[in-house]
Amino acid sequence: MSEPVKIDEISDGNFGKIVLESEIPVLVDFWAPWCGPCRMVAPVVDELAAEYQGRINFAKVNVDEDPKIAGQYGIMSIPTLIVFKDGKPFSNIVGFKSKAELKKNLDEVLS
């Protein structure tokens, strides 16, 4: 088991720097406190952050506090996980998904 990694909450102010300008892919977890499935997928995302450390970065956007970024990427449903590669959305995953399904997606991003 990898050491737990803390996932940063990002906002409109640092989204560009942390996500769009990142050299490695970044998975952004769009969530909100009232969303049950968002909280269900959170521990899975935490584990993936540890397992893919150094290969994929992870960040979270609270759509309640930052509706602007959510609107920019057409988010109408949470949880939505978008993996950004070279500053652009590469894959878009809506709803709770198991670790196995998410890993498949992340391995595709890296291949």
């Binding site: 049950g36 968002c38 449903s77 198991s98 670790k99």
Partner: protein, 308 residues
């Protein structure tokens, strides 16, 4: 494959009230017990801010708090918990092999308590527009539809609860139900009929979800007259029921026509050493208390099977 670290007496699949109650009973009877949960401990009941019908809480309790206490109780007696998704269960002689996305475990007995997932409509456009106007969680997504026109498909308690929640955000909420009366509890029906922003389309089913980049409308059919029509909406909330989360099990245990696992009153399936509890089993009461009851019964049966 005789790794002692991965060998347990009892493996429980699913960490909702059924699995947690089973975990308490199994651990207290000194069985080496493992709980496998792929999401949040507590299962679907964590979405309930206030549970008023679980015995012992006259002022109600949140699903998250109640299941948190259950988990703490089981852990106190030695339960081990791993965050993993079970991808299959196989028979390995007398033992059972539980396969997960992060490794395999062997068990003397397995209790399947993995609950249910949302039923889909199965119409064109549903997959394509999931996340683009099609939602299975009104609590999660209502905020994205402020001032818009949305439809709720369904006629039971969940559909009415979701529709009422949506009226706080959307301009118009249209309930589309294939029958001419609701299945929801009377008190909640009355509130729904009294809500001005809620409209009803009876005897109607959705045959297609249409749009451009996002949902723009629904194709409807009246089941009594056969008449078809179009309804412009910007959101569709699907609330047509739950289905047992059993596809991955394939044919290892017999299930009913809805996919729910067949059990007797001792929560035994037709396969010795495999038990089922909670919403996933045939004729479940679908309540937190019935799930917990099932879990305890299943654990006691599993314990008996291991000590005979």
């Amino acid at each position: 494959m005789n790794n002692r670290d991965n060998a347990y007496d009892i493996v429980i699949v699913g960490g909702g009230p059924a699995g947690l109650a089973a975990a308490i009973y199994a651990s207290r009877d000194r069985f080496r017990t493992l709980l496998l949960e792929r999401g949040l401990i507590g299962g679907q009941i964590v979405n309930a801010d206030q549970v008023d019908n679980y015995p012992g809480f006259p002022d109600g309790i949140s699903g998250e708090e109640a299941t948190g206490l259950m988990h703490r109780q089981a852990t106190k007696y030695g339960l081990e918990t791993v965050n993993a998704d079970v991808t299959g269960i196989e028979l390995n002689g007398e033992a059972k092999l539980v396969r997960t996305g992060s490794g395999d475990y062997t068990a003397g007995a397995v209790i399947i308590a993995g609950g249910t997932e949302r039923q889909k409509l199965g119409v064109p456009g549903e997959e394509q527009y999931t996340g683009k106007g099609v939602s299975f969680c009104a609590i999660c997504d209502a905020a994205f539809f402020g001032g818009k026109t949305v439809a709720v498909i369904g006629g039971g308690n969940a559909a009415i609860t979701e529709a009422m929640h949506l009226t706080k955000f959307a301009a118009r909420v249209i309930i589309i139900h294939r029958r001419d009366q609701l299945r929801a509890t009377r008190v909640d029906q009355e509130k729904a009929f009294a809500e001005p922003r809620l409209e009803f389309r009876w005897d109607t089913v959705v045959t297609e979800i249409k749009g451009g980049d996002f949902v723009q409308g629904l194709r409807l059919r009246n089941v009594k007259t056969g008449a078809e029509s179009d309804l412009p909406v910007e959101g569709v909330f699907i609330s047509v029921g739950m289905r047992p989360y059993t596809d991955y099990l394939k044919d290892i245990v017999p299930r009913d026509e809805k996919g729910a696992i067949l059990v007797n009153e001792n929560m035994e399936t037709q396969v010795p050493g495999i038990f089922a509890a909670g919403d996933i089993r045939h004729n479940s009461g679908l309540q937190m208390i019935t799930a917990a009851g099932d879990g305890a019964t299943a654990a006691m049966s599993a314990g008996k099977s291991l000590r005979k």
